[in-house]
């Protein structure tokens, strides 16, 4: 038998996490699947409810806002859906990460697991919902005879970057919100603000001056553009959006890991 663990070896926490997540990949999928099914276990529609939520929001928003914008934006439901999908994914991913880390984090005091496992699970869970939502959107496009063009091929890039951004933010939030409960509340408020600054249910053109600048520095707005441009406007997204979101995703990813590894042990001790 070779030496399996030596506390005197220098620590490589990041490598340990990544290696551990790979080792426990079956667990990640099991937990994703468990979270998706358990939540609706006793309801009649079951896991369908995870689709109903964005769908119902979309129907309500379409009814409410089509009066305001219908003449300017044809196929308003699709316009709305592209924004709503990204926003819902991001909100779900990060807020689930906070909740899951608080609830399931107790496991980390009992069994050795990669500490980031619940963050990855939360974001992956939201990603599954995102993909289902994309499926619904394609179905919707087909029903209303909205053209589906080759530009849809750039959608995976939007998915990947959304995933990276969400992981970064969720990693930082999960341990910090355990240590300081206010962070969860501040974040929830911030998320609402970001939603109104994301041009989900309006066109950015209706604004000018500083409100417009505020929208244009909102990373979520650019993530939405990465999906909306190819799907709704049938054109490739602006290179500026790609670069901005790409660099931001990288920065958030690095910062997220740094904060996570810095605070996770402390957070687990207080659970």
């Amino acid at each position: 038998m070779t030496l399996f663990y030596d506390s005197a070896q220098p620590r490589r926490p990041f490598r340990e996490e990544i290696f551990g997540l790979w080792q426990y990949r079956d667990l990640v999928w099991l937990l994703v699947w468990r979270n998706l099914t358990v939540r609706y276990k006793r309801s009649i529609l079951g896991a369908l409810w995870s689709l109903m939520d964005p769908l119902l929001t979309m129907v309500i928003m379409t009814i409410v806002f089509s009066e305001l914008l219908a003449r300017k934006v044809p196929f308003f439901a699709l316009y709305l859906f592209t924004g709503l999908l990204i926003y819902t994914f991001f909100a779900q991913a990060t807020q689930n990460a906070i909740a899951n880390f608080q609830q399931a984090g107790r496991l980390l005091t009992k069994v050795y697991l990669p500490r980031s496992v619940f963050v990855l699970v939360s974001v992956s869970e939201a990603m599954v919902n995102f993909l289902i939502g994309l499926g619904i959107m394609m179905g919707l496009a087909w029903v209303v005879k909205f053209p589906i063009t080759w530009t849809w091929w750039s959608v995976p890039v939007a998915l990947m970057l959304s995933f990276l951004v969400a992981i970064g933010v969720a990693l930082a939030l999960a341990p910090l919100s355990v240590l300081y409960a206010d962070i969860g509340n501040i974040y929830a408020a911030l998320l609402r603000l970001v939603m109104y600054l994301s041009a989900i249910f309006y066109e950015v053109d209706i604004f000018s001056g500083w409100p417009r600048r505020l929208i244009e520095i909102n990373p979520l707005y650019h993530l939405i553009l990465l999906l909306r441009e190819p799907v709704y406007w049938h054109r490739l997204p602006n290179i500026y959006s790609f670069i901005y979101v790409g660099l931001l995703a990288l920065a958030l990813w690095i910062m997220g890991w740094k904060l996570f590894l810095r605070f996770v042990d402390e957070a687990i001790l207080t659970l």
Partner: protein, 277 residues
Amino acid sequence: MLKQQASEPLSTDVSPWAIVVEDLHLYYRRPRHDATSIKELVLSLLRHRRLSSYEVQALRGVSLSIRKGEVYGIIGRNGAGKSTLFKVLSRLLRPTRGRVRIWGRVVPLLGIGAGFHPELTGRENIYLYSALLGRSKKRTDELFDEIVDFAEIGDFIDAPLRTYSSGMVARLGFAVAMAERPDILLVDEVLAVGDVNFKMKCQRRFEQFAREGSTIVIISHALNVIRDMCNRVTWLHEGRVMTTGPAEDVVREFWRFMQGIRESARPLRVESLKHVA
């Protein structure tokens, strides 16, 4: 009685040891003020200039070496550091000072069924808990029938776990954890669950694992279990090693010590001592 044993000689390369712990210290800080919100944090910083916290010294220089294939007991009063030691051995806590080396994969029987979910079926929970222990889905597929067999839950396998009795849940957790022979098994007071038959079955499985080369470390307050099962025992007291030696001797010494405490604490009452013996 209070002699401190010198740590045993250590070899490094092809090791006859499963676990070697050298001068292990584990301290952690607990905040005194309990600031769980930013407001409290700021107020506390303003008031005291820095965050006040106190240090818990859970382990203060523990050394022990456990041979491969040994059944090893850890005893001591509540708060002696037994569970903290297990947390270090299962990599949940890092030593503050000192060194811990482990040869082989550790399976802790700590939070049995900690990952169980009441709304999932027994079958689903088996896969979940198995994955929590680091097994792949494929490996669990192979072990599945044996797990169900050992847990003795029969037709309940596809019923949600909330319909199980607490004994059944414990058996299921145990069966999953014990489905594979681990290199090193950490057992924390688990024999407290289940009926007599199941306890016997578990004990037999421990013995079988030990014969096949597993190292087993047991924490228990049931001194008779420790005496019957273990080769050697370490008695921890307030974060330090009090004695290490053959199970019989250390258990007797510890029992005398506890008796002394009881006698000094209150007048001797024979009934209250019976269950310890």
